[in-house]
């Protein structure tokens, strides 16, 4: 599928939207489109209804957790040290906030083509974690978006039934996030069962 063409088609059909192509470095060559949350719904509608694309089948919906990244670089700075101006090396850290991502894989059952990969990103990982739900367009996203809500904590606006799906309702964490710490319940075993596991974690 020609992503450049789809991108221009989308931009023509949904005025004012900003679509970016995310390049995929692997030999699979499945590049994806990054959508803005304001126009996701219209774009999805367009992709489904467009006579040429007709992406009527949403196969896979996935959450991905990208942690906050911290890059540090050494910078030389002029600074007063003991009254004399000197050049001092300083480590400057730039923090780029992480985000949660929802990835959609679209196919067309009628035209038998695909996949078109769509991505939506949240602002950060803590409080601005809302994304528009695409369940009203492709119902197959219903359980998968619920699963992302359960395991990653993305809140899908417009989802008809957004509850926890795999974990119990009282559960509070989002276990698929990279920084989730699971309850430690190995310690009670009076055998090397836990020693085995503990040691294996060091590898």
């Amino acid at each position: 599928m020609n992503l450049e063409k789809i991108k221009s088609d989308i931009e023509a059909a949904v005025p004012g939207c900003n679509v970016q192509i995310v390049v995929n470095g692997s030999p699979s060559g499945q590049h994806s489109l990054l959508l803005e949350r304001q126009h996701v719904f219209e774009i999805a509608k367009f992709l489904q209804d467009d006579s040429e694309l007709h992406l009527d089948y949403c196969s896979n919906v996935t959450g991905v957790d990208w942690l906050d990244t911290e890059t540090s670089e050494k910078v030389k700075v002029q600074r007063l040290v003991d009254g004399v101006e000197q050049e001092v090396e300083e480590i400057r850290k730039t923090r780029s906030p992480g985000y949660l991502e929802a990835v959609y894989h679209l196919y067309s059952m009628e035209k038998k083509h695909g996949p078109l990969v769509l991505r939506q990103r949240t602002e950060n990982r803590t409080d601005q974690i809302n994304l528009p739900s695409l369940t009203p367009i492709w119902r197959s996203a219903e359980f998968q978006e619920r699963e992302i809500f359960d395991l990653y904590g993305i809140i899908f606006e417009g989802h008809p039934d957004l509850r926890r799906i795999l974990m119990w309702d009282e559960f509070e964490d989002h276990p698929m996030r990279k920084d989730y710490i699971e309850p430690n319940d190995y310690e009670y075993e009076p055998t090397p069962h836990d020693a085995v596991l503990e040691k294996s974690m060091q590898h």
Partner: protein, 386 residues
């Protein structure tokens, strides 16, 4: 039977609900229930004998496959994929191997492709046979059809065991090929099994297909419209029973499926009977593929020599690979960050997504029909909850 659009059905039912709110009965089918294929649960609201609301509840077999896979090497996830859909470990292996091969750009030798096709089609045979067996069990045909199905399944499992070493958890495929070559005499044995399988299918058809009770219980029950099937992302035999011609073996032509001559059975009504018959017909098509593959299989290497077993690190990137597993589209989505562990490992489970429309199919049906409809979705809990 007159086709009612599910949306209309829903509104009709909710109108009925409003009338007799106090007479409704909430029951929880499962997670321990003889008909729910393991630990599946449905919260059903009944108006008399009719279902007015049905909410599936998942997670009773959520084994954190994805989380574990993100902490171990690519190879180490291979045995875990066996335990996803534990009836068909070999197709799971294939789907995962295929995705990693896409991710890292690995070529598979021809012989390995043939072995993969043969094992995958054998898997389809035993899965469909036992699915029908379980379906009959749930319909009240206690024992007999299931026992016949398992008799054949055991014969195929023997083939798997002599090839892979294990009856169910094969852990057989590797990135860029297969783990071991076929043992001496395996092809002969498989040919014999394939040649004798139609006898079982004939027997099964005589036993079931024209049985009046079965017809009464299945025809016109649990109708799934074409539109809703596509909307709901249904795949596999269930989708084709609703009349959509979509088989990934034909669409993607992954592996070497373009070399085989086979047809895709398509249903007409999308009811339980169609879904049952599609599986019987698919088994016959699988046999066709098997005969051709066993005839054409070539000698040669079974592993891509450039691929490392240990210390496998694909380049950073992502790939989504999918195959037509016996249950539907089984996909894997992998994101690599260049380390030995996948950054994101996702399974697209056909069983879970095929359950999306369970409520729509069951609305207005009786409890006994719900069990039958549920049986034809053909789920395995290991895959639903992962």
């Amino acid at each position: 039977m007159e086709m009612i659009a599910p949306e209309d059905q829903r509104t009709a039912q909710s109108a009925a609900t409003a009338k007799s709110e106090d007479a409704l009965l909430d029951i929880s089918l499962g997670p321990h229930h003889p008909s729910t294929h393991g630990v599946f649960r449905m919260d059903v609201v009944l108006d008399g004998e009719r279902v007015v609301k049905l909410k599936p509840v998942f997670g009773y077999l959520h084994r954190n496959h994805e989380k574990i896979a993100e902490s171990v090497s690519y190879l180490a996830s291979m045995p875990y994929t066996d335990r996803l859909d534990y009836m068909c470990s070999l197709t799971n292996n294939w789907a995962y191997a295929l995705t990693v091969e896409k991710l890292a750009g690995i070529q598979v030798p021809e012989r390995a492709e043939y072995i993969r096709v043969i094992t995958a089609e054998l898997t389809r045979l035993q899965n469909h046979a036992s699915t029908i067996g379980f379906l009959m069990q749930e319909m009240g045909a206690s024992g007999t059809p299931l026992m016949y199905a398992f008799r054949e399944r055991e014969i195929i499992l023997d083939l798997f065991e002599s090839l892979t070493g294990s009856r169910m958890m094969s852990n057989y495929m590797r990135f860029g090929g297969c783990r071991v070559d076929l043992p001496y005499g395996w092809l002969k044995q498989t040919e014999k099994v394939v040649a004798e399988f139609p006898r079982f299918l004939d027997e099964f058809e005589r036993l079931l297909s024209s049985n009046e009770i079965l017809l009464a219980r299945t025809q016109g029950v649990g109708v799934l419209s074409k539109k809703l099937a596509i909307q709901g992302g249904i795949t596999g035999p269930m989708l084709r029973a609703s009349g959509v011609n979509y088989d990934i073996r034909k669409v993607d032509k992954y592996g070497i499926y373009d070399r085989f001559d086979f047809r895709v059975p398509i249903g007409e009504h999308g009811d339980v009977y169609d879904r049952f018959m599609i599986r019987l017909l698919e088994m016959r098509e699988s046999l066709k593929i098997l005969t051709q593959a066993l005839r054409d299989i070539t000698a040669g290497p079974i592993m891509d020599t450039k691929t490392k077993i240990r210390g496998f690190r694909p380049k950073a990137g992502e790939a989504y690979g999918r195959i037509e597993s016996p249950k539907g589209e089984l996909g894997f989505f992998l994101i690599s960050d260049g380390s030995p562990q996948p950054y994101r490992y996702r399974v697209r489970p056909p069983s879970l997504i095929n359950l999306t429309v369970l409520e729509d199919m069951c609305l207005g049906a009786s409890v006994a029909d719900t069990v039958v409809i549920f049986g034809t979705v053909d789920i395995v809990l290991g895959e639903v909850d992962r």
